[in-house]
Symmetry: C2
Subunit: 322 residues, 2 copies
């Protein structure tokens, strides 16, 4: 006998749905996806059209099979106890939308909704790089820097569901201005777009520097990325090296701060910027080690689930309802 | 019927012991102290002589009455699961001392030992300013800056018992050098001795500044304190104002960082530096508010239990054994 679980992901660039089956006797590993489908949402889409799209995807996958539970990953702040989306970081029209209640109506099953970082943390904890670690912090380093906690083997969301916002802890209070209004946030120094912006500014300002990076870069802002910086740094580019080092160091100091405060045993790093190469990883790990007190120890490892982390996490979230 | 509880505090400047009685039926409020005694430990004392002193104090208070449990607050890192003291911050000879096992032998009752910040956090949570707050951070701002968590109504110690070390999170990575080897730690900017040191240095460096503070200060380093700085700042002294503002701001940024990471509903501040006056409190609260994301809310209040917080916390710790 199996529980059938529907996993939904309202991501920044796509909507995804998947169905899996879980043995009722052991509640053990989910089977491989029975079905898996994703669509790219148009940037002009609204909350209502995204909802209709994902509902149709879910119905098509299920084909009338009775569901045990639905888990949902959402790219924006969520009030977990009520399943209400407070806001989308990507799509207009998501403001105080009772997503959980609506999906429960549509699918006739209990629904749990949480923000993507918390859900990915749970996914990595149950099925990925965090297996066996009771206390872990998951961090995604991408267009933004966000995070989610598992403490004592359970998701830790905080009293308003806002825990894990490591992107907006300050490590350099005289540092550059962040969109959030503060200076020297981890996100301002370590996220992909901010590193790209700072690299571009440095190339403009110091025309004698960054010759390798200039050669590799097309000049289009969208093409400047952590990956390009890593490639240039690997070929000895000074600008790319400086920016990546500073980003890795900021993230590492943020991780060290988090480790001194909460003392998890493991930090799992996911997101595109983590593909910036060994030099970036060394900068992260060294700064974290220097920031942690001598008695504090915490391993830092890459995420294992890749782009499917939110879907696997949504499965883990749904299992909590059974 | 009552449970009799023995509370012990191995503090920085004194050893304290107290006995209280707890109604067995309700496990409610402890009665007022049945007996309460403290001695000042000589700076030359050893671990063994401190142990013998506090054991004799406990025996004298109990006078043969059967104990239900012993709770112990210790001023240094403790391995909570085994009750082993790793180190004292104040007295030589405390290195891997199995304090819990020894006291269990002496008193014939179960013993729980934890570091003073965790214990004070528990005390404020159960009997002080943190009553009713499921998720709180207690911070002591004194000769050092330390902290302890209560999350979901339970102490949160982390996987090595090191959680709560807010004094050694970095808020200004280009800031002044801390004894721990890092730059711009909260403790380096906000603790009493470091603020005093920085005020003194500023007076020496800028002879035209700090006239009010110069008038109030005797010139002895030991007499420079948060309280003196508050007094001078209250009378318009520019040096005192600058140092206290920066200390309060560093603590506030640290609190804001902790709130973004863990999202507690309450932060309770204890320790001598919290007596630095309204200007200091405003700086702390304003910096915390500016650092927290708009969706993150956290009240910051003074501790209620004063010098007895470790003893009340030790009672709460002992109750967990019943």
């Amino acid at each position: 006998m199996h529980h059938i679980i529907l996993a939904l992901d309202f991501g920044g660039t796509k909507l995804s749905a998947a169905v899996t089956a879980l043995p009722t006797a052991t509640m053990g590993e989910p089977l491989a996806w029975l079905a898996h489908r994703h669509v790219f949402s148009a940037p002009s889409s609204s909350a209502e059209s995204d909802l209709q799209t994902i509902e149709a995807m879910g119905q098509a996958l299920l084909n009338g099979v009775q569901l045990a539970a639905v888990g949902v990953s959402f790219g924006g702040p969520v009030d977990f106890p009520t399943g209400t989306v407070r806001l989308s970081h990507h799509v207009p029209g998501w403001k105080n939308v009772p997503l959980g209640a609506r999906l429960a109506d549509v699918f006739g099953a209990p629904v749990a909704v949480d923000n993507d970082a918390n859900v990915a943390a749970l996914g990595e904890h149950r099925y990925g790089a965090g297996r066996g670690a009771a206390d872990m912090l998951y961090i995604t380093v991408s267009t933004g820097v966000g995070g989610g906690w598992v403490l004592g083997g359970r998701p830790w969301r905080g009293h308003e569901g806002m825990a894990g916002e490591i992107g907006h802890i300050v490590v350099d209070w005289n540092g550059p201005l962040c969109l959030c209004g503060k200076r020297g946030c981890v996100e301002r120094l370590a996220s992909g777009p901010y590193m790209a912006q700072d690299a571009e500014a440095l190339l403009q300002e110091r025309t004698e520097r960054g010759q390798v990076l200039r050669g590799l870069w097309s000049g289009e802002r969208a093409k400047m990325s952590g990956k390009l910086l890593a490639e240039a740094a690997g070929q000895g580019d000074d600008v790319a090296f400086e920016i990546l080092q500073r980003g890795g160091r900021a993230l590492g100091v943020g991780i060290g701060n988090a480790a001194n405060l909460v003392n998890p045993q493991l930090v799992v790093l996911g997101g595109g910027v983590t593909k910036s190469g060994e030099m970036w990883w060394s900068a992260v790990r060294q700064a974290a080690r220097e920031t942690m007190l001598p008695e504090v120890n915490c391993e830092i490892v890459p995420a294992a689930l890749g782009d499917d982390a939110p879907l696997w996490g949504a499965v883990a979230l749904a299992i909590e309802l059974l």
